[in-house]
Symmetry: C2
Subunit: 230 residues, 2 copies
């Protein structure tokens, strides 16, 4: 099944290192800052709505998340939130950007083994600067040929990526934790995909059972398992 | 001089379309919003300082600019700026993102001619989503093989780009309006460069005479002139 593979794309956040956990922590901090105005549940919901409203203009990444937190804080407080709280929101975001990179188990071993046989690329929809910084902190730079930043991870984005890499879909394998972003679009364009779930999934990345059934891919419990197939 | 060229990289903002003008307009709007606190000159200076302070963590692009405007507004007002003003700052940024794309004279003609003989790429340090959107609005998509987003435009970034494109420096020509970002780093790594100045240059992109002298490159008054050499 994987004999034709030439290039392997790895998703970064929550596939190589911890990320979603930091967003959940930030949301919790944000809710605490606004506790005088609303319940945590309501604040979570409104922030998520704001992020979805702003996603078409801001795209993915921490900076858009910071801007949505600020806008949401003003809305939730009926424009009475203090400058002090807005400063604290900016600091939540800056701290996220400066978080240490915590590798998931087995990552370095897997990359070390595979980089000898395949061209590896990092394929992420985060912010380029942010992902370059994380890659540097991770000490994994040597294993990757380069970073590909995608503005979104839909079929058309992956088709463009393959065109840009000058390879056919059957020569490309994607490894990632998000069924919606890293697996299904690849299967649908005739490329290969291996799903390595992370324990936490952002609501925006969740798929319904219906969406799940249109293709075949493998699922591995941990990233080390992919070595059984490659 | 240009016989070996295989790939031409075009800077986007202020090389293909108007951009810096929108930032100057936004800064002027920002200064008007804060006029009760400081003179326009002081506000300009403080915003620029804030952008430079935040550049290592936010990188280039409108979202980082928006976050720096908000932080600067709080600082300039001693944390007394109103939620209404912060909302207006967010709107300045959102309007920048939604601005129409105004092509510079001769751009389409040049790309049309060169795309038949060379592989053209868009090489920009803005935000990927923002640049994809501008490229789509510009109707120039068909001329470019793909977009390369660089987190910065220093020698090391261009060296990585050439490695990623699998070409030697002498086969690469960069065309752009910024001596600091689009020309000097290329000349220094042995690639070719043609400078097409724009009437407005951001202070951060300005170079001193000393920096200018370490290499050779051509300067064209308008982008159409580059056809004389290619």
């Amino acid at each position: 099944m994987y004999n034709d593979i030439k290039v392997i794309g790895f998703d970064a956040d929550d596939t190589l290192w911890v990320n979603e956990t930091y967003f959940r922590d930030a949301e919790h901090e944000f809710a605490k800052l606004l506790a005088q105005f609303e319940t945590e549940n309501k604040i979570d919901q409104e922030l998520f709505k704001m992020e979805m409203k702003n996603l078409p203009i801001y795209g993915y990444g921490v900076k858009g998340f910071m801007l949505s937190m600020i806008e949401s804080a003003m809305e939730l407080s009926n424009n009475t939130v203090s400058n002090d709280t807005i400063n604290k929101i900016l600091n939540i975001g800056k701290e996220m950007i400066n978080k240490p990179v915590v590798l998931l188990e087995g990552v370095e071993e897997v990359l070390q083994a595979l980089s000898k046989k395949y061209r590896l690329i990092l394929a992420t929809k985060g912010d380029l600067l942010d992902q370059e910084r994380k890659l540097e902190k991770s000490n994994l730079t040597e294993y990757f040929h380069h970073i590909e930043v995608l503005s979104d991870k839909q079929e058309s984005n992956y088709s463009n990526l393959l065109k840009h890499l000058d390879i056919d879909p059957e020569n490309f394998l994607m490894v990632g934790n998000s069924l919606k972003s890293d697996i299904l679009p690849l299967v649908n364009i005739g490329a290969k995909a291996i799903h390595v779930p992370f324990h936490t999934t952002w609501a925006h990345e969740q798929v319904t059972v219906d969406e799940k059934t249109n293709g075949t891919y493998k699922t591995c419990k941990g990233i080390k398992e992919i070595l059984n197939y490659l």
